[in-house]
């Protein structure tokens, strides 16, 4: 559905996205993760033509993001990170304004959804909470038939119940045909729940991407106990192939590997260290391992 090649955006001299080469398969729900300023929103905005790429190329369903921007926006739906928009309009006025741009947009469908969420059509957008604004934007998008949804923090500001509703709605929507969703979010547990693919952006670069299951099965943590003399050759281990990162945790060294933990374990045994223990990593642990700046901040 989406293919980017060396996509780069600089704001002045500061790189926001650097050499992003990324593929979003059709029919996938893709989680785009990264700390603030990692380039998630800029990436989504580049795909929709709101931000002009400095270099590189990208296509959505075979359409070039520079040349065919209007056609891309016709087939895609977008929820921005700032949900409080068009504050002077009433909900009904906003829906009419939005719906006027799409031939396949259904007023009845939008109203049905808003009724279910108990959002009155007469309310002014600026009087609604952030979460309700997000719901209005989602109801507007779901009242048509986009092939792709690009959602920037879609559950930001929603209460747990509403979050649940929105996530179910998204998952149900994506399951119905060849529809794709890209969700930019900080909420790892939500991404882990509904996404089948994830990508981590760090400082504008793609740190890791792929199928969630494959990442979880290929990324392992190996905990190895230091001996009394503290002789773990940390610098040497960091240089090993397949060692992504090392995290000293007291007397234990956690080694995060990708693909072949067995090779690393063999080499650790060769160093005469006590029996290493392999752990599976959840998404949060993978995220922390592949976004060291965030990890440093947390620690």
């Amino acid at each position: 559905m989406i293919t980017t090649s060396d996509l780069t955006k600089h704001f002045g001299k500061a790189p926001a996205v650097s050499g992003l080469t990324w593929h979003v398969p059709e029919g996938s729900i893709y989680g785009l993760l990264g700390q603030n300023g990692a380039g998630k929103s800029t990436t989504l905005r580049m795909l929709l033509g709101m931000v002009q790429p400095t270099s590189g190329t990208a296509e959505i369903a075979g359409l070039d993001i520079r040349r065919d921007s209007v056609a891309i926006r016709r087939m895609a739906g977008y929820i921005p990170d700032q949900k409080s928009i068009h504050g002077q309009l009433r909900v009904a006025q906003f829906l009419r304004f939005y719906g006027g741009f799409f031939a396949d947009w259904s007023w009845d469908r939008a109203v049905r959804q808003l009724d279910a969420w108990q959002i009155p059509l007469k309310s002014r957008m600026k009087k609604l909470s952030k979460g309700m604004n997000a719901k209005v934007l989602l109801a507007a998008v779901f009242a048509r038939e986009p092939r792709l949804l690009l959602l920037d923090e879609p559950t930001e500001g929603l209460d747990p119940e509403s979050t649940e509703e929105v996530l179910s709605l998204l998952a149900g929507w994506a399951a119905d045909g060849d529809r794709s969703i890209v969700i930019s979010s900080h909420r790892l547990e939500e991404i882990e729940r509904i996404c089948d693919h994830v990508a981590f952006l760090q400082s504008g670069r793609l740190a890791i991407s792929g199928r969630l299951e494959e990442l979880q099965s290929s990324c392992k943590a190996i905990d190895v106990q230091n001996d009394a003399n503290g002789t773990i050759p940390l610098d040497a281990i960091r240089q090993w192939q397949d060692v992504h990162s090392t995290v000293p945790m007291g007397n234990t060294l956690r080694i995060v590997t990708q693909r072949t933990p067995e090779t690393v374990i063999e080499r650790l045994r060769g160093l005469g260290l006590r029996e290493p223990v392999i752990h599976d990593l959840n998404l949060r642990e993978i995220y922390l391992a592949f976004c060291p700046r965030l990890k440093e901040t947390l620690s």
């Binding site: 709101m50 700032q82 409080s84 002077q88 799409f102």
Partner: protein, 273 residues
């Protein structure tokens, strides 16, 4: 686009014609209570207004100074009512157009609305051209409503005037003010993204209004002098009505309006939201 613009601007749009009409009524009242003395001779031309109550002495001294001078009043020159409106409207309408141009996609960059609008399937140039078109339409509507009410009031007061005025006056007024739509949008594009949302809404309007003011001052056919001095305003309007020059506002619209709109589109297409 018209619908969105209407929802954004309906309050301002209601106030503007009312303001124009109120100014006209104020001038009308002044004309009814004063003599207007007009001269055009070797000393140049000018208008002098004096209250009816003590005008005899002033008229005498005026005619001594300008033997060819004319004494006008609302009674013997009913068209002055329309001249007054024309002068006020031609001075105020550009400022009103600038006010109508406030906000919009170029000023919405900081509040997130712009990026959402740009996610809709419309090209950037279409946003600007359709907004300019909608603003032109609203400006014409402002002029038309003001003219219609002014005309109706004139009829009510028993001042006769040709009905064709109701067609030509709004068109001429709109053409005179239209270039400021392009200039406003261009100035908005220059300031877009440079300030916080509140400042970003106000600063371009203030700068463009200042530009309207300065243009009025430094252009030879200044009408802003009349803004401070109603007699000169009348004189300017009289000159315009006596010698209507459609090509001037058309040329101004063509050169200033379209060029600035093209520049605004060019800048807008390169912007990041």
């Amino acid at each position: 686009m018209i619908r969105k613009l209407w929802l954004e601007l309906r309050l301002l749009f209601t106030i503007l014609p009312i303001a124009l009409i109120l100014f006209t009524l104020e001038y009308t009242w002044a004309f009814q209570h004063a003599n207007i003395m007009y001269y055009s001779d070797k000393d140049g031309y000018g208008l002098v207004m004096s209250p009816v109550a003590n005008s005899a002495k002033e008229i005498e001294s005026f005619l001594k100074e300008h033997p060819q001078g004319l004494i006008l009043s609302l009674q013997n020159s009913p068209h002055s009512y329309f001249l007054g409106f024309d002068g006020i409207a031609r001075t105020l309408l550009p400022f009103m157009v600038v006010a109508l141009c406030a906000g919009g996609i170029l000023s919405e960059k900081n509040n997130g609305t712009a990026s959402y609008s740009l996610s809709l399937p419309v090209s950037r140039s279409s946003w600007i051209w359709s907004r300019a078109g909608a603003l032109l339409f609203l400006s014409f509507l402002t002029a038309l409503i003001s003219c219609a009410v002014t005309y109706a009031l004139a009829q009510w007061m028993g001042i006769a005037h040709g009905l064709s005025w109701l067609v030509t006056e709004p068109v001429l007024l709109t053409l005179g003010a239209a270039p400021w739509i392009g200039v406003s949008l261009y100035i908005q594009s220059l300031f877009s993204g440079r300030f916080d949302p509140a400042s970003e809404a106000i600063i371009p309007v203030a700068v463009t209004a200042l530009l309207v003011f300065l243009t009025d001052i430094f252009l030879p056919n200044s009408t802003v002098n009349g803004f401070g001095n109603p007699y000169l305003l009348l004189m300017d309007a009289a000159e315009s009505v006596a010698h209507p020059t459609l090509w001037k506002p058309l040329l101004a619209t063509g050169i200033v309006g379209i060029t600035s709109l093209l520049l605004a589109v060019r800048r807008f297409e390169r912007m990041d939201f």
